[in-house]
């Protein structure tokens, strides 16, 4: 793909996203990329740096894994429905077809809503970006007509892997998913939402009322690519603090960079995060699909592997 085309398609996708949310009354927000405490993600590694003032004050700084904590602080302050398009960073990952150390993330949050509302947003937004219901990616045709199939994690594990997902170790979850479940859906030619994850895999999601062993979380897959991860947000500060501690313990056990808990985040939960749902979507992956190219390096102007000679 030519440089001019790369610029154009990115511009078009980002413009479409902005117009989509502004038309629906969402506020666009801009939150920090350099923060004192990043998200307590058990499986992701951060870029670490040091901030130093002219007078010699030194602070540890990190590039964000996601803008979620900052946006939730804004939600607690009463901003209402909002979205952000920002750069996020992940260290110690292979640069691959779907991964670049620096990438563009879209997050949006709906107040007074749950994850099923975000599913509908996602379907509509994706159709706007692609512009038609029959869509081809890398010679395979997909049917985007709504509604897209919604499949519970427990149901999918039972049906395609013959397993009770509550008995599946966290570390084996995605291996089983990619070996048994995702291929079964790839054949259907439809995008799909996989929803209701075991509570152990839903750090920031609220438990389901009917069955608290599961949490209101979904991931959405199009053309075999995971495009987004959504939670009905957990608003219970005590439970949230407990889970953050758990995640930081897992980080430590995995030998990842150690940092503390974002106390301000816990504080705003105590003050009150409104009932809301939010999603994080990889914008570069949306562009891969819109541009019908196989790899993220085809649509990033300065791919990490070229910049850093990886």
């Amino acid at each position: 793909m030519q440089t001019g085309q790369k610029i154009q398609i990115r511009e078009r996708v980002v413009d479409t996203i902005r117009a989509f949310f502004k038309k629906r009354g969402f506020r666009e927000v801009f939150t920090p990329i350099l923060v004192p405490v990043p998200s307590a993600e058990p499986n992701l590694e951060v870029f670490q740096t040091q901030l130093q003032t002219a007078s010699g004050k030194k602070r540890q700084g990190y590039l964000i894994l996601s803008p979620e904590y900052s946006i939730k602080k804004l939600l607690a302050a009463g901003i209402g429905n909002c979205f952000e398009i920002t750069k996020c960073f992940r260290n110690e990952e292979e640069v691959s077809r779907l991964h670049n150390p620096e990438f563009t993330m879209l997050e949006w949050y709906r107040v007074g809503a749950d994850y099923t509302d975000i599913m509908k947003d996602f379907e509509e937004l994706f159709l706007k970006i692609i512009g038609k219901e029959k869509f081809t990616h890398q010679k395979k045709t997909y049917d985007l007509s709504r509604p897209w199939p919604r499949v519970s994690v427990a149901g999918a594990f039972k049906k395609y892997a013959g397993k009770d997902v509550l008995k599946v170790a966290e570390a084996d979850f995605y291996q089983i998913f990619f070996n048994k479940i995702e291929p079964a859906f790839a054949k259907s030619g439809k995008p799909f939402f996989l929803y209701d994850y075991p509570i152990s895999q839903a750090a920031l999601a609220r438990p389901k009322k009917a069955n608290p062993r599961f949490a209101e979380r979904f991931e959405v897959f199009v053309a075999g690519i995971e495009l987004g991860n959504c939670f009905s947000e957990l608003t219970d500060s005590v439970e949230q603090e407990k889970r953050l501690h758990h995640d930081l313990t897992v980080r430590k056990a995995q030998g990842k960079t150690r940092y503390g808990i974002d106390r301000d985040f816990i504080k705003v939960l105590k003050v009150g995060l409104p009932a809301s749902a939010g999603i994080a979507v990889g914008v570069d992956r949306l562009i891969i699909l819109a541009a019908d190219v196989p790899s993220i390096s085809d649509i990033i102007l300065f791919p990490g592997n070229e910049l850093f000679d990886l």
Binding site: Q2, E41, N43, L44, S66, R90, E93, E94, S96, R97, L98, H99, E170, A171, D172, F173, Y174, Q175, F178, N179, Q201, A202, A203, E219, E226, N229, A280
Partner: protein, 187 residues
């Protein structure tokens, strides 16, 4: 018997999958944001030629198939077999066509690495560059003006290649066997 971390498997590796030796032809690293990273590989069984795919956790240990390589010359194709010869001992070996990709680079006398597993020839590693003669070329081409102008020509083995406009029939060109890219004209 030695192992490799699944996260370090690369294209071209030979590993044991469910007891059978396979060659890896594609790897894909995936890191679900909320879970452990996995490595999806596509492979070909080097005894049967059948293809498959599997996803490993990157931390998993995978057994390496102990293969050896020997430099041999390509002679000719005999039905579904490719015949190679050891230039020193004149020993011959046959490799099933189904186990070889990019047959279009196999010109007679080409020196390749024949891959052996348990005393059977099961694959071929091409040299990084191969020089071949152009046998057909369009006379006039408008060319792609945004890129460096290229045209499609046919080579002695029947395969096609993208080359600069100045290349003529009868000339020899060198291609990169990994990327299929044109490298140079041979004077």
């Amino acid at each position: 018997m030695s192992n490799v971390n699944a996260g370090n498997i690369t294209k071209g590796n030979y590993i044991i999958f469910k007891g059978a030796p396979v060659q890896v032809n594609k790897t894909e690293f995936m890191s679900p944001g909320k879970g452990s990273p996995v490595m999806r590989i596509k492979f070909k069984n080097i005894q049967t030629g059948s293809a498959g795919e599997y996803t490993y956790k990157t931390s998993e240990q995978v057994e390496i198939a102990e293969v050896s390589k020997k430099e041999m010359q390509y002679l000719y194709r005999d039905g579904n077999e490719l015949v190679f010869m050891d230039p020193k001992s004149y020993d011959q070996a046959s490799v099933p066509v189904a186990l070889v990709e990019k047959l279009g680079y196999l010109i007679p006398n080409l020196k390749c690495w024949v891959v052996w597993y348990k005393e059977k020839a099961i694959g071929v590693v091409l040299p990084s560059h191969v020089t071949m003669k152009v046998i057909e070329s369009p006379n006039e081409v408008a060319g792609n003006r945004i890129n460096a102008p290229k045209k499609t020509v046919k080579l002695e083995t029947g395969v096609e290649a993208q080359v600069p406009l100045f290349i003529k029939v009868g000339e020899s060109i060198t291609l990169d066997t990994e990327t299929d890219a044109y490298l140079s004209r041979v004077q």
